[in-house]
């Protein structure tokens, strides 16, 4: 259990996907304008990551055991198709939920964090439970980064930001500072 918790915490803060591993940056910059949106994006991310982790585990265990070179392509095709189906299902079954979460799903599919999750999980040889904790931790980490960034950006929106920082320049500097702050977690529980 300790091990699982460590996997979760490590994926969440120490090796935060967004701030330490550089995964999923495009949506991180794109969808971090509002806290409400960021929360939903985060939730959608956790959801897709869990699906991904399950799919990757299944593929690794049952389909790709002898053909590791087909991993990348199988992972991504499976994830993309699954997400597309889930998206359609949500759109049909619960338009309200679709409005809340669904519109982010396609954004997430083509997002490094998802495939990165599958690849890291495979490289580290995680089993089902480890994979799930890893996915949840990574998802929470992405959500944390998104929400922090979004609440900061909401505040900045009310500031006199100089003209040249109005494009994403300031947001990247912010991300850099956040990333710096997160280095404080480096080495956590490793000694």
């Amino acid at each position: 259990m300790n091990e699982l918790i460590w996997i979760l915490i490590s994926a969440m803060v120490v090796n935060n996907f967004t701030l330490a591993l550089f995964l999923g940056l495009c949506p991180f910059l794109g969808v971090s304008g509002r806290v409400a949106t960021a929360l939903r994006m985060g939730a959608a991310n956790i959801f897709v990551m869990v699906i991904t982790s399950l799919a990757a585990w299944f593929l690794n265990s049952y389909v790709l055991a002898d053909a590791p070179y087909l991993r990348i392509i199988s992972f991504i095709v499976v994830i993309a198709s699954l997400v597309q189906i889930v998206e359609m299902a949500i759109k049909k079954l619960s338009p309200a939920l679709f409005r809340e979460l669904g519109i982010f799903l396609p954004l997430i599919t083509t997002n490094c964090a998802i495939l990165g999750l599958a690849i890291f999980q495979t490289n580290r040889g995680y089993g089902l439970a480890e994979g799930l904790f890893f996915a949840v931790g990574a998802g929470l980490g992405v959500t944390l980064a998104l929400v922090l960034m979004a609440s900061i950006r909401e505040r900045i929106e009310l500031s006199d930001v100089p003209a040249l920082a109005r494009n994403m320049g300031l947001v990247l500097i912010l991300a850099g500072t956040l990333s710096l702050a997160f280095t404080g977690f480096a080495g956590l529980f490793s000694s």
């Binding site: 389909v63 790709l64 002898d66 053909a67 087909l70 392509i73 199988s74 095709v77 499976v78 198709s81 699954l82 597309q84 189906i85 359609m88 299902a89 759109k91 049909k92």
Partner: protein, 284 residues
């Protein structure tokens, strides 16, 4: 070469493709939702100013309305004629016509000719100044010159001149109504470009009470009422009021005897640096 390996690889990926092909096809049958793709297409063609001049809540709403045929593309005054034509061509409808209107100021009392009673200090906004005891301008109806209108104008049509009066560039003005709403004193009005006569004053004082606070105020002397076509101008609560339903009767004689210049003949820009000689001014 290991034929088995090759075959199994092809089979694995083929199988994955097949499985998800089936799943997606099934989902597609059961779960699809449709929306009109033309909305996005038209929306992309619109200027995206979301200014509301068209009377709809933003460009996308306008796009929907054009598709359903509720409005003609020309109702969007921000689009240039070419773009208008593009939208019309895309939808196979007529672009429609829109009469060019511009914002006109109902005050000429710049800091050179109008008196200031007290010095306002505070937020640099007309609305704020007016809320603080009227902003200290001698004329309670006149422009306080802190540029709320210039700031709202999304099209940079308004600049403040050296006497702190807003000057509208008719070229840039799209008649979006923003300045009309922004001015706390209600000093802007949208007027077709082909109407020329305007009383640029709203001061309700009479005679010298009026000209004491502003040298270009309408002091209700009544000369323009007499000189204009009968019924075109009327004196109401100490202010000359033009009946724009009869505007086709206008001619420049109405302004000839105005002692303060409150009534004016507009051609192009209001408060132009060099007043253009109006048609009929020789008649003076």
């Amino acid at each position: 070469m290991q034929p088995l390996l090759i075959l199994s690889s092809a089979a694995i990926l083929g199988g994955v493709g097949l499985t998800f092909g089936v799943l997606i096809a099934a989902a597609n049958r059961k779960l699809r939702v449709w929306e009109d793709p033309r909305i996005d297409a038209v929306n992309d063609m619109l200027p995206g100013a979301n200014c509301g001049a068209c009377g709809f809540a933003g460009c996308r709403a306008f796009a929907e309305a054009t598709i359903t045929g509720q409005v003609a593309p020309a109702v969007c005054t921000v689009m240039g004629p070419d773009e208008r034509q593009d939208v019309a061509a895309f939808l196979g409808v007529d672009a429609g016509q829109a009469n060019k209107r511009v914002a006109r100021l109902l005050c000429a009392g710049g800091s050179d000719v109008a008196v200031q009673k007290a010095t306002y200090r505070g937020l640099a906004s007309c609305a704020a100044a007016v809320a603080v005891s009227g902003g200290g301008k001698g004329c309670a109806w006149g422009c306080v010159g802190l540029a709320d209108c210039a700031v709202v104008c999304d099209f940079d049509a308004i600049t403040m001149n050296e006497h702190d009066l807003p000057v509208v560039d008719p070229e840039k003005c799209t008649a979006c109504n923003d300045c009309v709403e922004a001015c706390p004193l209600g000093l802007f009005t949208l007027m077709p470009m082909d109407q020329h006569l305007l009383v640029q004053c709203r001061n309700l004082l009479h005679g010298e009470d009026a000209t004491d606070v502003c040298a270009v105020a309408c002091n209700a002397c009544g000369r323009c009422v007499q000189d204009a076509a009968p019924g075109l101008i009327e004196m109401r609560t100490n202010l000359a009021v033009i009946d724009y339903s009869k505007i086709e009767l206008e001619n420049a004689a109405a302004i000839a005897r105005c002692p303060t210049g409150a009534i004016t003949w507009l051609d192009g820009m209001q408060f132009a640096e060099e007043p253009a000689a109006p048609a009929g001014s020789e008649a003076r």
